[in-house]
C-alpha cells in the first residue's frame, strides 16, 4: 500500500510539473482523466489539496501544508501520545493536567520592580561576600602591633628553589613530566621536601624535638645516677648499715601502708595479702626458730654471754612478729570497741592528790576560783624587799583561800556533786573549753557514723594530752607560786588586763553561790570569761542569765582563757584606779561603743521578729498589684520605726556627728601666731608680762579661710581636704575603657620606663601599635592573601614549581604576573 501511494504521488508530481509548463488547456484534460481514473477505482481516494494560490508557507513537497495557519492544539498531541507506547505515563499525566487547567500566566513585573529586586539580591550577595573580612578586620583592630607593609617578604638571601619557583613549564615534554610529578606528589626540585617529610616536620617542630631530647637526656642521666648509687650501696659491707636501712624501709613501708589504707583500700588489701603470704612462708620455714647452726652455737654461748642470749631472744621475737596474724579491723568491731571504751579519761574522775589546792583542774572539780595569773614569769627583776613583801602577801592569800574553800565546801556540797555528775555525763566535748553546746549535744547523741567516731576518738586523745599537759604545767606553776608567790593586786591588774575578756555572763545561781564573797559592787575584779563548756557542765543552756554591766569596766574582747575563777573583793579606791588604767590602755579603741553594739545585736537577736501578719486579701480586695490598705501599712511602718529606734537606742549618732563637725570647724579656724619677745624693748623677768601694745603688735592673726562649704548645711560635712594645687593634676573622672578606679590606678601604677624595668621589658611595654617600614609602599590588602579557598587557578597558568610559601598564595589566586613584579620592586624608590 505505502509503495503504491508513493508511486502515485510521484506521478502526480510529474503531472503537476508539466501542468505548470503547458497551461490551463492541459489542466482541464488532466482533470477529466483523473476523474475517469478515480471513477474506475472502487475505493474512494483521499482528495489531495492543491496549491492554487500564492502562499507564504510552502511545503517541502510543493504541496500546501495542511493546517499551517492553525496552532497545534494540545489535544492533537495528546491523541498521538495516547497511542504511542513509548511515552511515559508521567508525561501523559502532565499533559492531561495541562489540558484541564484553565489558568493564565501572570503578567511580568514592570521594569522598576524587577530592577529593584535584582539590586536587592545583588546587594545581599555583596554584603555577604564582604562580611568574610570581618574576622580579619576585628583581629587587626585588636592586634597589639601591626607591621606594615603586610605580608613582607623575609629579608636576606633566598634559597635557589624560591627563586626558581616562578619558572613555568613551556614545552609539552616538560608539561608531561611535571604533570606526572604532580600526580605522584613528588618533589619537583631536589631540596624541596616531599609531602610526607613535610608532614613529619610539622608533627614535630624543632623546639619540640629539642625539648624532647633534653627530657630523654635527663631521664637517662637520672637512671645512671640511680644505678650508680644502688651499686655503691650494695658494695657497703657494714651489716649495721644494712640493718638500719632495712628498718628505715620497713618504717617507710608501714607509713605508706597506713596512708594506703585511707586512700587506696584495694592496694592495701593487696599488701595485706602479701603480708599474709610472707607469714605463711615464715611459718613453713625454720628461719628464726633458733634451730640453725648459728642458733645452736649461740645457745651454747647463751649461758655465759648476755648478748648471745639477747640475740636469740631477738630471733624468737622476730619469728613471733612475723607469724602473728594480721587483724583487719572491721566496722562492727570498731563500734563495739567504741561502746566499750570510756570516752572520758579515767583521771578526770579521779580524786585529786592535793598537789595544788589552787588549781581547780587538779582537784577534778570545776569551781570558780581566783584567777591564775599565768604571766608571772616576767617579774624576774624584783628587789629583795619586794619579794619579802610578796611572800607575806602570798601567805595571807593562801590563808584566805583556804578559809574560803572550807566555807564553800560546807555551803554547797550538793552543787559540787551535781557538777561532777554533769561533768561525767558530758562527753569529752568539754575538752577545749570553748566548745559549742550544740556540739556537746551532738556528741551525746552518739552518731554511729565512722567519721564522727574517729573524730571523737581524736578528741578524746587530744583531750587526754591536753589534760596531761595542763596538769604538768599547773604543778610547775604551783611550785612557782609557792616560791614566788602572787603579785601585788595592782600589778596583778595591770598584768591581767591585756588578756582579759569583756563580757562576763554569769548565772544567777552562781551569783547566789558567790553572794557571800561578792561585794555590792562585784565587778571591779577584772574577770576572765566563763566559757560555754563550763556553763554547759553546770546547768542547761536555757537557764536564765544575767549580765553584769561592764560599762564601767572597760575591757577588751573576750579571749579564751581556760580557767574559771571567782571575782575577788577589791576596794573602792583600787577599783577607780583600775578603771583609769583600763581607760588609758584602751584610749584608742572605742570599746564602749563596740560593747553597746554587741549588746544591741544580742538584744535584737533575742527580740521577737516583726512578723508580717497582714493577709493581703483579708478584709479588703486582694489580687496582684493590690497592696494592703493604708492603715495596715502605717501600722507596719510605725513598728519599723520603733524597732529602729530601739536598735539605735544606745548610741547617740546625732551628737557624735555634731561633735565631729565642730571639731573639723575648729581645726579649720586660723590660729594666732604669737611673736612677742618677752624682754625685748622693756623690762623682762619673772612675773612680768609683755605690754599690751606689744601683744597687740606681735600677735598676728592669719586671714580667715574662706567659709566652709557646709557652713549652712547643718547635717552635712563636706571635707575640705582636697588640695587645689594637686587637683589640677589629678584625673577627676574615670576614663572610658576602665571599669573601676582600681583598674585605672593599677594601670598608672605600673612604671614602663627603663629606670624600673629591664631593657627587654621596656621594649615590650613601649612597642608601638603600628610599625611602618621606611620607604616602603604600603599596599592595600590583597584578598587572596587573607581569604583562602576563593578561586582555583586555571590549569597551566601557575608556576610549575610550587613551594611551601607560594602554595597558599597560588591556591587562591589568579594574581597577574604584574602583581608579582610589583611586589618585588616595591622596595625600590625612584
Amino acid at each position: 500500500m505505502a509503495a503504491d501511494e508513493e508511486e502515485l504521488s510521484i506521478n502526480e508530481q510529474a503531472i503537476s510539473a508539466s501542468e505548470d509548463e503547458e497551461g490551463s488547456d492541459d489542466e482541464r484534460k488532466h482533470k477529466k482523466l483523473l476523474e475517469a481514473i478515480s471513477s474506475m477505482g472502487s475505493r474512494k481516494r483521499k482528495k489531495q489539496n492543491e496549491r492554487s494560490e500564492a502562499s507564504v508557507q510552502v511545503s517541502e513537497f510543493f504541496v500546501n501544508a495542511e493546517g499551517t495557519g492553525e496552532k497545534v492544539n494540545l489535544s492533537d498531541l495528546l491523541g498521538t501520545v495516547e497511542k504511542t507506547s513509548g511515552a511515559s505515563n508521567k508525561t501523559k499525566k502532565q499533559l492531561r493536567n495541562l489540558q484541564s487547567s484553565k489558568e493564565t500566566l501572570e503578567l511580568p513585573l514592570n521594569k522598576q520592580q524587577t530592577e529593584k529586586i535584582q539590586r536587592g539580591i545583588a546587594y545581599e550577595k555583596t554584603a555577604a561576600e564582604v562580611s568574610c573580612w570581618r574576622n580579619i578586620i576585628l583581629q587587626n583592630q585588636k592586634a597589639e602591633q601591626m607591621v606594615f607593609p603586610l605580608n613582607q617578604e623575609s629579608p636576606g638571601p633566598k634559597r635557589v628553589e624560591q627563586v626558581v619557583a616562578g619558572w613555568k613549564v613551556q614545552t609539552p615534554l616538560e608539561q608531561e613530566i611535571f604533570r606526572l610529578l604532580h600526580i605522584n606528589s613528588q618533589p619537583v626540585d631536589d631540596p624541596v621536601l616531599t609531602p610526607v617529610e613535610e608532614q613529619s616536620l610539622k608533627a614535630m617542630s624543632l623546639e619540640e624535638a629539642k625539648i624532647r631530647r633534653a627530657e630523654l637526656q635527663k631521664a637517662r642521666a637520672l637512671q645512671s645516677y640511680y644505678e650508680a648509687k644502688a651499686k655503691r650501696e650494695k658494695k657497703i659491707k657494714s651489716k649495721k648499715y644494712h640493718k638500719v636501712q632495712r628498718k628505715a624501709k620497713c618504717k617507710d613501708f608501714l607509713k605508706q601502708f597506713d596512708e594506703m589504707v585511707k586512700t587506696n583500700p584495694e592496694g592495701a588489701l593487696e599488701e595485706l595479702k602479701k603480708m599474709e603470704l610472707s607469714r605463711m612462708e615464715e611459718r613453713m620455714s625454720l628461719k628464726h626458730q633458733n634451730s640453725g647452726k648459728w642458733a645452736k652455737s649461740k645457745a651454747i654461748m647463751a649461758k655465759y654471754d648476755d648478748s648471745a642470749r639477747k640475740a636469740m631472744q631477738e630471733q624468737l621475737q622476730m619469728n613471733k612478729d612475723l607469724t602473728q596474724k594480721i587483724v583487719v579491723p572491721s566496722d562492727d568491731e570498731h563500734e563495739s570497741n567504741e561502746e566499750g571504751l570510756e570516752t572520758i579519761p579515767d583521771f578526770v574522775n579521779d580524786s585529786e592528790p592535793v598537789i595544788d589546792s589552787v588549781n581547780p583542774w587538779m582537784r577534778g572539780q570545776l569551781t570558780h576560783e581566783e584567777p591564775e595569773v599565768s604571766c608571772v614569769t616576767t617579774e624576774d627583776v624584783q628587789t629583795a624587799e619586794e619579794e619579802n613583801e610578796e611572800e607575806e602577801l602570798v601567805g595571807e592569800f593562801e590563808r584566805k583561800r583556804k578559809l574560803r574553800q572550807a566555807d564553800e565546801e560546807d555551803l554547797i556540797p550538793t552543787e559540787e556533786e551535781r557538777k561532777r555528775a554533769g561533768l561525767k555525763k558530758i562527753q569529752p566535748a568539754s575538752e577545749v573549753v570553748e566548745e559549742d553546746v550544740v556540739e556537746v549535744s551532738d556528741k551525746e547523741e552518739e552518731d554511729d557514723d565512722d567519721d564522727d567516731e574517729e573524730e571523737e576518738e581524736e578528741d578524746v586523745s587530744e583531750f587526754n594530752t591536753l589534760f596531761r599537759l595542763m596538769r604538768s604545767e599547773k604543778t610547775l606553776e604551783g611550785s612557782n607560786q609557792t616560791r614566788e608567790g602572787l603579785n601585788t593586786p595592782g600589778q596583778e591588774d595591770e598584768e591581767g588586763l591585756l588578756n582579759e575578756g569583756q563580757i562576763r555572763v554569769r548565772n544567777i545561781e552562781d551569783l547566789e553561790v558567790l553572794g557571800e564573797f561578792v561585794d555590792p559592787q562585784p565587778i571591779a575584779e577584772p574577770s576572765l570569761p566563763r566559757t560555754a563548756a563550763v556553763e554547759a557542765t553546770s546547768e542547761p543552756p536555757y537557764k536564765k542569765k544575767r549580765e553584769i554591766d561592764l560599762k564601767e569596766v572597760l575591757t577588751k574582747e573576750a579571749k579564751a582563757v581556760k580557767v574559771p575563777f571567782l571575782p575577788t573583793v577589791v576596794d573602792e579606791e583600787e577599783r577607780d584606779e583600775q578603771i583609769s588604767i583600763i581607760k588609758e590602755a584602751f584610749a584608742g579603741d572605742d570599746v564602749i561603743s563596740d560593747f553597746i553594739k554587741d549588746k544591741s545585736k544580742l538584744e535584737a537577736a533575742g527580740r521577737p521578729e516583726v512578723v508580717d501578719l497582714t493577709l493581703p486579701g483579708w478584709g479588703e480586695w486582694g489580687g496582684v498589684g493590690l497592696k494592703p490598705s493604708r492603715w495596715k501599712r502605717k501600722r507596719e511602718r510605725d513598728e519599723q520605726i520603733s524597732i529602729i529606734k530601739e536598735a539605735f537606742a544606745g548610741d547617740d549618732v546625732i551628737s557624735d556627728f555634731i561633735k565631729d563637725k565642730s571639731k573639723l570647724e575648729a581645726a579649720g579656724r586660723p590660729e594666732v601666731v604669737d611673736l612677742t619677745l618677752p624682754g625685748w624693748g622693756e623690762w623682762g623677768g619673772v612675773g612680768l608680762k609683755p605690754s599690751r601694745w606689744k601683744r597687740k603688735r606681735f600677735r598676728i592673726k592669719t586671714a580667715p579661710p574662706p567659709p566652709r562649704q557646709d557652713q549652712k548645711l547643718p547635717d552635712v560635712i563636706i571635707s575640705e581636704n582636697r588640695n587645689a594645687s594637686v587637683a589640677s593634676h589629678q584625673v577627676s573622672q574615670l576614663p572610658f575603657p576602665f571599669q573601676n578606679t582600681a583598674q585605672f590606678e593599677s594601670s598608672i601604677r605600673t612604671p614602663i620606663g627603663p629606670t624600673w624595668n629591664t631593657q627587654s621589658v621596656v621594649k615590650n611595654m613601649t612597642k608601638p601599635k603600628v610599625i611602618t617600614k621606611m620607604g616602603a609602599i604600603i599596599e592595600p590588602m590583597v584578598k587572596e592573601d587573607f581569604i583562602k579557598n576563593k578561586t582555583t587557578t586555571p590549569g597551566g597558568k601557575g608556576p610549575a614549581i610550587m613551594l611551601g610559601e607560594n602554595k597558599r598564595a597560588k591556591e587562591g589566586t589568579k594574581r597577574s604576573s604584574e602583581k608579582h613584579r610589583g611586589r618585588r620592586s616595591q622596595k625600590r624608590r625612584k
Binding site: 555583596t126 587587626n140 629606670t755 611595654m765 616595591q826 624608590r829
Partner: protein, 452 residues
C-alpha cells in the same frame, strides 16, 4: 708553690673585664643597674613628670610643614600618587595643566597641557607606567609616565572622546579596567574606546567614583542628588543608594578594612559607613567649619586626612568623632584635594592658591633614619603620653592647637548655632505630643533615606 699558698690565704678582688669594658669606644659605657624598687622610689610622679615633658616636647617639635611645590598657574584640582614610586606625584590644575613632581627634590619633572578647561581627575595605572586624566573637554587621555625624547611633542598614548564631561576617574587595582563618572558611571576597558558597562540610576551627574582597593570589584560614587551609590562591576545593576541631607563631595575606601568607606560632605562633616549597614553611619567626624572637599585614607587604614573649604587640613582617627590634628598656614587657601603618601609618613594637599604642600603625617615626628636609642626614646615618650593621656595637664597640652582667628570664630559661631538648634528641638519636643518628635542621635540625623 708559694704563690699557690698565698692565693689560698689572700683574697683578691677579681672582676671580669667583660662586665665593665665596652667593646668599642663608640659603645656607651656599661652601667650595672639594680632594679630594686626601693632604690627607685616615686615611680608614678616621676613618670608623670616625664609624660608631661614628653607632651610639651611633642608640641614644641610639632612642625608639620615640610615643603611647598609651586609651579601651577591655576588652582590645583586633583592630585594622585604614583602607584609604584613614593617620590612621584602627579597633579592637575584648573587650567588643564598636569605636572609631575619629584618630592625629595621638590621640583617639577614634567608639565603637560592635558586638557582644555579643568583637569577633573587623574589616576595612575597600577603598574606605574602610565596615568589617565579626564577633563572638561569630554576626553579621557592616557599618558606615558616616561617623558618623551627631546624635541618630541607631548602626545597622549590614547584619547577617548566621550559624550559628556567626565568628573572623576579611578583605576582598577590590578586589572586593565578603569571607571569614570560624569552623567553616568562607566567602566572602561583600556583596549576599547567605548565603555564596557555603564550604570545610571536616575541621577544626572556624579562627582566622584572610587574602586574598593580590597574588594576590587566594588565601586562607590557620590552623586549630585545627595546620594552615595554602590556598584558591583559583576552585576548589571547598582547595589544600593544612601541619600544624605547634603551632597557628598568625595569618598574614600579604607584600604585595610574592606567594608568601610568615608565620605566628605558639604555639611562640614565626614561620615564613615559600613556598606553592610548603610542606614546609619558608623562614625560622624566633625571639626571642619566649612564644606569638606576631599578625603584620603592612610595606607594603614587607621586614620584619614580631609581637606576643607575652610582652608585647613585635618587628620582623623578612623573611629573617632574629632580630629587629632589640624594643619593650616597663612597662605593656604581653600584646600581642594589631599592625599596620604603610600609610606604613611606624609600628607599632600593641593589648594586654590596653586601650591601643593607636603606635610608630615605626625607633626612632631623626627624624619630620617633614627638610631635605636632615638627610636626607643620616641616609643617610650609616646607610650608615656598614652599612659597619662587622661590627666588634665597632659591632655590640655596635647590637645592644644593654634587656629586662625576666623576659623576659631566660625567654630564658636557654629557651636552656638548647634546649641540653639538643639534647644529649639528640645522646646518643640516639650510642647508637642509625646513621641511625635522623635529623639534622633547625631548619626541618624544626616541620613535621609536608603534606596534599594
Amino acid at each position: 708553690h708559694q704563690s699557690a699558698y698565698e692565693s689560698d690565704n689572700i683574697k683578691v678582688l677579681c672582676r671580669n673585664p667583660d662586665d665593665y669594658v665596652r667593646e668599642t669606644t663608640r659603645d656607651i659605657q656599661r652601667v650595672p643597674r639594680n632594679y630594686d624598687p626601693t632604690l627607685h622610689p616615686f615611680e608614678v610622679p616621676r613618670e608623670y613628670t616625664r609624660a608631661l615633658n614628653a607632651t610639651k616636647l611633642e608640641r614644641v617639635f610639632a612642625k608639620p610643614f615640610v615643603a611647598s611645590l609651586d609651579g601651577h598657574r591655576d588652582g590645583i584640582s586633583c592630585i594622585t600618587k604614583h602607584a609604584k614610586s613614593l617620590s612621584t606625584v602627579i597633579s592637575g590644575a584648573c587650567d588643564g595643566e598636569v605636572k609631575l613632581w619629584n618630592l625629595p627634590r621638590q621640583e617639577c619633572l614634567r608639565t603637560v597641557q592635558a586638557h582644555e578647561g579643568f583637569v577633573r581627575g587623574i589616576c595612575s595605572r597600577f603598574c606605574g607606567t602610565s596615568f589617565f586624566t579626564v577633563g572638561d573637554d569630554k576626553t579621557i587621555k592616557q599618558w606615558n609616565l616616561e617623558a618623551p625624547g627631546y624635541g618630541v611633542r607631548e602626545e597622549p598614548i590614547n584619547t577617548i572622546l566621550g559624550k559628556a564631561v567626565f568628573t572623576g576617574i579611578d583605576h582598577h587595582q590590578r586589572e586593565s579596567t578603569f571607571v569614570t563618572c560624569g552623567q553616568t558611571v562607566d567602566i572602561w576597558d583600556e583596549q576599547r574606546s567605548s565603555p564596557i558597562r555603564s550604570f545610571s540610576w536616575g541621577v544626572d551627574s556624579f562627582s566622584c567614583v572610587r574602586y574598593n582597593p580590597v574588594e576590587t570589584e566594588l565601586l562607590a560614587s557620590c552623586a549630585s542628588d545627595r546620594s552615595i551609590v554602590l556598584y558591583d562591576t559583576r552585576e548589571s545593576a547598582p547595589l544600593r543608594k544612601v541619600i544624605m541631607q547634603l551632597r557628598s563631595n568625595t569618598l574614600c575606601w579604607n584600604p585595610m578594612e574592606a567594608y568601610y568607606f568615608t565620605c566628605a560632605n558639604e555639611d562640614y562633616n565626614l561620615y564613615t559607613y559600613d556598606i553592610r549597614h548603610l542606614d546609619v553611619p558608623v562614625t560622624v567626624h566633625m571639626d571642619h567649619v566649612s564644606a569638606v572637599l576631599d578625603v584620603d585614607y592612610s595606607p594603614t587604614g587607621r586614620e584619614f586626612v580631609s581637606a576643607s573649604f575652610d582652608k585647613t587640613i585635618r587628620i582623623f582617627p578612623k573611629d573617632k568623632g574629632h580630629s587629632r590634628e589640624v594643619y593650616h598656614t597663612k597662605r593656604m587657601q581653600h584646600v581642594i584635594c589631599v592625599r596620604w603618601s603610600a609610606d604613611n609618613k606624609y600628607v599632600l594637599s593641593g589648594s586654590d592658591e596653586m601650591n601643593i604642600r607636603l606635610w608630615k603625617a605626625n607633626a612632631s615626628e623626627k624624619l630620617g633614619l633614627l638610631s635605636t636609642r632615638e627610636k626607643a626614646a620616641a616609643h617610650y615618650n609616646k607610650k608615656l603620653i598614652e599612659k597619662f593621656q587622661h590627666h588634665p595637664q597632659v591632655r590640655r597640652i596635647a590637645r592644644h592647637r593654634h587656629l586662625p582667628g576666623d576659623i576659631l570664630k566660625q567654630k564658636r559661631e557654629q557651636r552656638e548655632m548647634k546649641e540653639a538648634r538643639r534647644r529649639r528641638e528640645q522646646n518643640v519636643r516639650k510642647h508637642s505630643k509625646p513621641g511625635s518628635v522623635p529623639l534622633l542621635t547625631e548619626k541618624e540625623k544626616h541620613v535621609a533615606a536608603v534606596v534599594e
